[in-house]
Every structure is written in structure tokens, then in C-alpha cells.
């Protein structure tokens, strides 16, 4: 191997295009699974707080499964397992439409929904019950007390863990490599195979992941600050 030379990779249009495509797919997986996870998390939270008797144990089982089984095994179960059980038409449609990426989004999204719903729940639970009583004493209905008093505080409390779990979702998007989605880590390995400049391309991959992780953390910190200027001023 010759000396350290980043330009051998970044200056090569073919490698640069592969990396850019990798970043694009990583973000497709990250944003897609984030949206899926958040939607599901809110539904799960609704089910938890609903008067339905089976709601609570059902959500608890969902959360328990997704937290105690490794994310990689969940992805494998989706891609190698459930994919093959699907009806012929659906499976071939998926196979023609980047099935790896779609299953990465589904697998990661379902898994992360469990974490997000627990974050939201503990955020809401940390609001003291006195708040609800006070709001109702002031004439709010249950729904309007939820909307104007409990929810704003609860979501604010839930923001720090939500940001942390968003960062780990971003990092977990690299697991899609194992089911063959062409995301950033996949692109890094491909460029490595072609260029044999392992050190340089790993360094580029690491810096890219680090950059985007820090970016997500900074966006999260900004949102937390906007949501609660008083606490930000104290910190």
C-alpha cells in the first residue's frame, strides 16, 4: 500500500459517486424509519393510555420484544424470514423496488418505535399529577388539559432521550449492510474492495458518520433549547 492519500478516493469521481449514493440511501433509511417509528410510537402511546383492557399488555409485549431481541436479528427475521413468506406478487414487487432498503426501513422503524414510545411515555409520566388536577380545577377539560398543560411539558421532558435514540437510529442504519442495502457502510466496503486504500476510506466513512451524528445531536439541542428557553438559559 502506498502512502496516505485522501485525494486518491475523493478525487476519483467513481468513488465519490458511490459514497454520495451511500449517504443518500443512509438518509433514506434514517428518515423513513424515523417517520415510521414516530408514527407507530404515537399510536402505541395512544393504545397504552386508552381504556381498552388489552391495550396495555399488548404494547408492553411489543416494546419488550423489540428491546430484548438484537436489532440485527430483527432485520434478519424480516429480510430472510418474512420476505419469503409474503405472497408471490408482493414479494416480486418488493424485489424490484429495493427490497433491502424497504425492509431496513420497516425493521429499524418497528424496532425504534418501541424506544420512542417508551421515551414519550416516561416524559408524560414525569409530569406531576398535580398539573392535571390544577388544570382541571382551572376549568380545562381532560382533553384540553392534555393538549395545553400536560403534553407540552411531557414532550419537552422526552426530548433528550428522543434525540439520543434518533442518533442511535442513525448509527443502526449501518446494520442494513448485513441484509445488503447499499447504504454508507456498504459503499465504504465497496470502495475499499476497488481501491485497496482501506485506511483512507474507513477514515472518510468514520468522519462522515461522526459528522452526521453530531449534526443530529446539534439539531436536537437546538430544538430542546427552542422548546424550553428557561431551562436552556439555566444550563
Amino acid at each position: 500500500m502506498s502512502g496516505f492519500d485522501l485525494s486518491a478516493i475523493l478525487g476519483n469521481p467513481e468513488y465519490a459517486a458511490m459514497l454520495l449514493h451511500g449517504i443518500e440511501i443512509t438518509f433514506v433509511i434514517f428518515i423513513g424509519s424515523w417517520l415510521l417509528a414516530m408514527t407507530l410510537a404515537i399510536l402505541l402511546l395512544g393504545l397504552r393510555f386508552s381504556p381498552l383492557r388489552f391495550g396495555n399488555p399488548l404494547v408492553a409485549a411489543y416494546v419488550s420484544y423489540h428491546r430484548n431481541v438484537p436489532t440485527l436479528v430483527q432485520l434478519m427475521l424480516w429480510y430472510f424470514g418474512i420476505f419469503t413468506l409474503m405472497p408471490e406478487g408482493l414479494a416480486s414487487w418488493l424485489a424490484n423496488h429495493n427490497a433491502e432498503t424497504i425492509f431496513a426501513i420497516i425493521g429499524l422503524g418497528l424496532c425504534q418505535a418501541a424506544y420512542f414510545s417508551e421515551d414519550l411515555r416516561s416524559g408524560l409520566r414525569s409530569v406531576s399529577p398535580g398539573q392535571m388536577e390544577a388544570a382541571q380545577a382551572l376549568g380545562h377539560s381532560y382533553v384540553s388539559a392534555m393538549r395545553f398543560v400536560i403534553m407540552p411539558q411531557g414532550i419537552r421532558n422526552a426530548l433528550p432521550p428522543l434525540v439520543n435514540h434518533s442518533v442511535s437510529l442513525f448509527k443502526n442504519s449501518s446494520l442494513a449492510l448485513i441484509i445488503g442495502a447499499p447504504e454508507l457502510t456498504h459503499a465504504v466496503k465497496e470502495v475499499e474492495n476497488l481501491s485497496f486504500r482501506t485506511f483512507e476510506i474507513y477514515l472518510i466513512g468514520t468522519v462522515l458518520y461522526l459528522f452526521f451524528s453530531l449534526l443530529i445531536m446539534m439539531v436536537g439541542a437546538y430544538i430542546s433549547m427552542r422548546a424550553d428557553p428557561a431551562r436552556a438559559a439555566r444550563a
Binding site: S64, Y65, R67, N68, V69, P70, T71, L72, V73, Q74, M76, L77, F80, G81, I82, T84, L85, V167, K171, N172, S173, S174, L175, L177, I178, T185, V188, K189, T198, F199, Y202, G205, T206, Y209, L210, S213, L214
Partner: protein, 252 residues
């Protein structure tokens, strides 16, 4: 479906449990557990050293470790595994088994995560403990060894167990460098059967679920016990100084 699963377990339980052990390297569930236990046992002292370095007053000690912790937390574990897979054979010049590479990666990775837990535990004790220990004539390290760490580490036991759980889950990533663990054994079974991937990976998920669920359960029980003990102790202390009850209720 159920019959398929029972048949797979009956035919392949030994492979899933210990891999090809007498005829090949130890693998399967046994290897997963050994790998996780070894990496948590080695990551624990590493994390204490990292935490002390991050709390140190010497920038030369503090900055490199802080940078290492941030990089480790900002980069996917998969990327770290690839780094170790590339660098360790390069540095040692030897043919390092993938088990050792995975072990090293996990020690660095979990060491960085645990060091944050240790650091939080030490900071949460408050500066008063250190001041009092120093006033009684302990050196800085003596105070750490006999006063600060025993308290901080005791409070950390639940976090250590949950780190153990996440280590077990992280060992699955050894799949990319062919560490012969449970996931590897399951994919071997899958390659031999070819027709029942869902059943095989469902078994895999169930095994991981049972292990991690039981350990999480243990962690929760230990956490409750510790919380109760601390609440009891702080009640006695609070009664002595007649502290307002609000402070007690705010303790985690």
C-alpha cells in the same frame, strides 16, 4: 409451523448451543455468552480508567479520552468492527482470530459507554464526599479507591447489567467478520435447510429474547432493591438534619 420449529430445534440444538465444538471452534450460544461476559469483564476496568481520565485535571489525560469517547459514541459499532478487523492484524502482524477482534471492539465500545455511566455516578455523589475524604487525610487516589468508587459503583450495578444485555445484543454484529456465535450458527442452520428461514430466525429471536428479558428482569429487581436501600438511608440522614421531604422524593 410449530412442528417445523420443534424439528429444527431437535436436529440442530447442539450446533446452536456450542457450534461445532469438539470438531471445530467453540461457537453458538456458549460462545455468545463467553464473548459478552469477557468483554463486559474487561470493559469494566477500562471504563473506570476512562472515567477517571475524563475527570482528571490534566488536559493531556482528559482530552484524548474525551475525544475517544465521543468518536466511539458517534460512530456505528459496525464501523468500529471494520476498523479493528483492519488495524489489529496490521499492528500485531499476526493472524488474529475474529473472536479476539470482536472482543477488542466490544471492550473499547462498551468501555466508552460505561465510562459515561461511571462518570455520572461519580459526579452524582457530589463534591462533598471528596472534600470530606481529603479533609480526613486521604490522597486523591485513596479517596477515589476507598470512598468515591465503592459508592458510585454500587449505585451503578443496574446500569452494568443493562450494559451486559446490550453487549449480548451487540455480539450479533460479529456476524460481519464471521465470529462463530449464536447468529452465525443460526445462519449455518439456515444455509443447510434453505427452505425454512423464517422458522430458523424465529428460533434465534426467541433465544435472544429469553436471555435478554431475564437479565433485564434481574436488573430491574436489583435497581428497586438499591433504590429502596438508598431511600432508607437517606430517610435516616434526612431525619437527622430535618431536611425538607421534597429533597428525598427528588432522589432517583
Amino acid at each position: 409451523m410449530i412442528n417445523d420449529i420443534i424439528a429444527i430445534v431437535r436436529d440442530y440444538w447442539l450446533l446452536l448451543l456450542i457450534g461445532q465444538y469438539p470438531n471445530g471452534p467453540l461457537g453458538g450460544l456458549a460462545n455468545t455468552l463467553i464473548l459478552s461476559a469477557l468483554s463486559i469483564a474487561l470493559a469494566f476496568p477500562v471504563s473506570i480508567i476512562f472515567a477517571l481520565a475524563r475527570l482528571s485535571k490534566w488536559p493531556l489525560l482528559r482530552w484524548p479520552v474525551t475525544a475517544l469517547v465521543y468518536v466511539t459514541r458517534g460512530v456505528p459499532l459496525l464501523m468500529l468492527i471494520l476498523w479493528c478487523y483492519f488495524l489489529i492484524p496490521l499492528w500485531t502482524g499476526a493472524d488474529v482470530p475474529s473472536f479476539v477482534i470482536m472482543l477488542t471492539t466490544l471492550v473499547v465500545y462498551q468501555g466508552a459507554f460505561l465510562s459515561e455511566v461511571v462518570r455520572a455516578g461519580i459526579v452524582a455523589l457530589g463534591p462533598g464526599q471528596m472534600d470530606a475524604a481529603r479533609a480526613l487525610g486521604h490522597s486523591y487516589l485513596g479517596a477515589m479507591r476507598y470512598v468515591i468508587l465503592p459508592q458510585a459503583l454500587y449505585n451503578m450495578i443496574p446500569s452494568i447489567i443493562s450494559t451486559f444485555v446490550s453487549t449480548i445484543k451487540d455480539t450479533t454484529l460479529g456476524y460481519v467478520i464471521n465470529v462463530p456465535d449464536l447468529t452465525f450458527a443460526a445462519s449455518q442452520v439456515n444455509n443447510q435447510l434453505l427452505t425454512q428461514p423464517f422458522q430458523v430466525f424465529l428460533i434465534l429471536a426467541i433465544v435472544y429474547y429469553v436471555i435478554c428479558w431475564s437479565l433485564t428482569h434481574v436488573a430491574n429487581r436489583v435497581e428497586r432493591r438499591i433504590a429502596r436501600r438508598r431511600a432508607g438511608l437517606s430517610n435516616i440522614r434526612a431525619a437527622a438534619v430535618a431536611a425538607p421531604p421534597k429533597i428525598i422524593s427528588e432522589q432517583p
